[in-house]
Amino acid sequence: MIGVLLFLHLPFAVIMLYALTTEDASFRFPPPGLTLDWFQVAWNRPDIWAALGLSLRVAGAATAVALALGTLAALAVHRSRFFGREAVSFLLLLPIALPGIVTGIALRSAMGLIGIPFSFWTIVAGHATFCVVVVYNNVLARLRRTAASQVEASMDLGATPMQTFRHVVLPHIATALVAGGMLAFALSFDEVIVTTFTAGQQETLPVWIFSQLTKPRQRPVTNVVAVFVVLSTSIPILLAHLLTREGTRKEP
């Protein structure tokens, strides 16, 4: 057990170590010396800032789309049994069950066929497609623990569906939405496979790292960015984990 945990986490330590090395051409271990200079170099590189900005905007937009679609699908699937209900769940899961490269090349070939040029929105479309399921799963799990009687009571007391949704359903699924949204954000923020197919010339942060790996220039700078990506994705994941756990604790 300890061995497996070490196996899972030591590589991160190695990356951090290499972000501090004074050696910038090879992966010599142990590093000849330690320095914090690379953080400053990374800070002053405009291409990194541009990539980070694009990543944040894409992740934000993809999360918004995924939140809307995932919640709708969860409400529909939860509310009733209908023909093809299983098929809906399956369809939502498919983009992450099939290899990412299939999703990527499929979107790419569709764009090629119809003649859609690459843009910010093509990246968002790709990301949203596989982020929906995360929100859907979180919201559906929460809805399953919600008593239907509360919704009925609200309707009986004269609330419109919008009011019921805003005052009864939404507060109930709020933390699940936040958790699902954060996971979707994290998923989109470091996605690289689908992005390479739908981005054209633009570089999100993971694509930037990807291109740096093939044509290395100042390797430690790449390591600094890698450390940053790992840290910035683990924060929303930790938060999401805490939020969903709190939800289960409230349960009697």
Partner: protein
């Protein structure tokens, strides 16, 4: 206004089907059009072929591209990828079982939550960075080599790398390295479903089995393993499918081509989308089986 809204509510309340339709339509349209539409266009494109003379895509339906697929070199790539995926799946299953078993059966709740988080965190964190870290670890002058040298086991490492088929000039460009990186990257995807399955095995069954005189090994083989099987299958589907479609690990930590690389290169460098499309139908086919 208010009464109109009320009428609207009643209208939908009396027609649950319609309400359902209104809810389900946007997500279904999105996935149906954007995703299934794309998959369909992938299939269509794979039936076109690239004119070798002009370098342009000929939009006429034929099986020519699929014919190209069945060359010796491409079949080698398919077999190599599938073998790697199978090996990685078996290895992750073996590695995942002990921690999953510990999590499900012995760990006190607090430790269990911490362990689950310890496994979830790498699962969600940047996949690219995780592959990259293995490049650092396995590089010729990297971490592993240093430890091997310290332990005076260089002869063993050299012997391993000298093996035909799985060896190479250094760990980071050998099949062994690829295998290690894959196992590392996909391990959490196996641990979690297996642990979930083991958690559902009622302890009373295990007690009954030992009461009836089964040795621990027998209990494990005839009771625990069959009951945990669905979890193993779910985890295997993930690891197998993820390995089949990956092109990043083979690009950094490998010396040979996998399905993913070929797809990536034929759409990016050669601009041969039909071929890339046809080749990516292969993992779908393998997964379907």
């Amino acid at each position: 206004m208010r009464s109109r809204r009320r009428a609207f509510a009643t209208f939908f309340f009396l027609r649950p089907r319609l309400a359902l339709l209104a809810l389900i339509a946007p997500p279904l349209l999105w996935l149906g059009v954007v995703y299934l539409g794309s998959l369909f266009s992938l299939l269509v494109q794979s039936l076109f072929h690239l004119d070798g003379f002009t370098g342009r895509v000929v939009r006429r339906v034929s099986l020519a591209t699929y014919g190209d697929l069945f060359t010796r070199a491409n079949m080698d790539i398919v077999v190599r990828t599938a073998t790697m995926a199978a090996a990685v799946t078996v290895a992750t299953a073996l590695l995942a079982f002990p921690p999953a078993y510990y999590m499900a059966r012995y760990a006190p709740p607090k430790i269990k939550a911490a362990l689950a988080l310890g496994i979830l965190l790498p699962l969600w964190s940047s996949y690219l960075v995780r592959v990259y870290s293995w490049k650092l670890i396995l590089a010729r002058e990297g971490v592993v080599s240093w430890f091997v040298e310290r332990a005076r086991l260089t002869w063993l490492l050299d012997a391993l790398l000298g093996l035909p088929g799985i060896g190479g000039p250094s760990l980071s460009v050998s099949a062994i390295g690829t295998f290690l990186a894959f196992v590392y990257v996909w391990l959490p995807y196996m641990i979690l479903p297996v642990a979930a399955a083991l958690e559902r095995v009622p302890p009373s069954l295990l007690e009954a089995s030992s009461d009836l005189g089964a040795r621990p090994a027998q209990t494990f083989r005839r009771v625990t393993l069959p009951l945990a099987f669905p979890g193993l299958v779910a985890g295997s589907i993930f690891t197998f499918s993820l390995t089949l479609g990956d092109y990043i690990t083979p690009q950094y930590v490998a010396n040979s081509q996998f399905i993913g690389n070929v797809v990536y290169e034929s759409q990016g460098v050669a601009n041969n989308i039909p071929f890339a499309a046809a080749f990516s139908v292969v993992p779908i086919g393998i997964m379907a089986i």
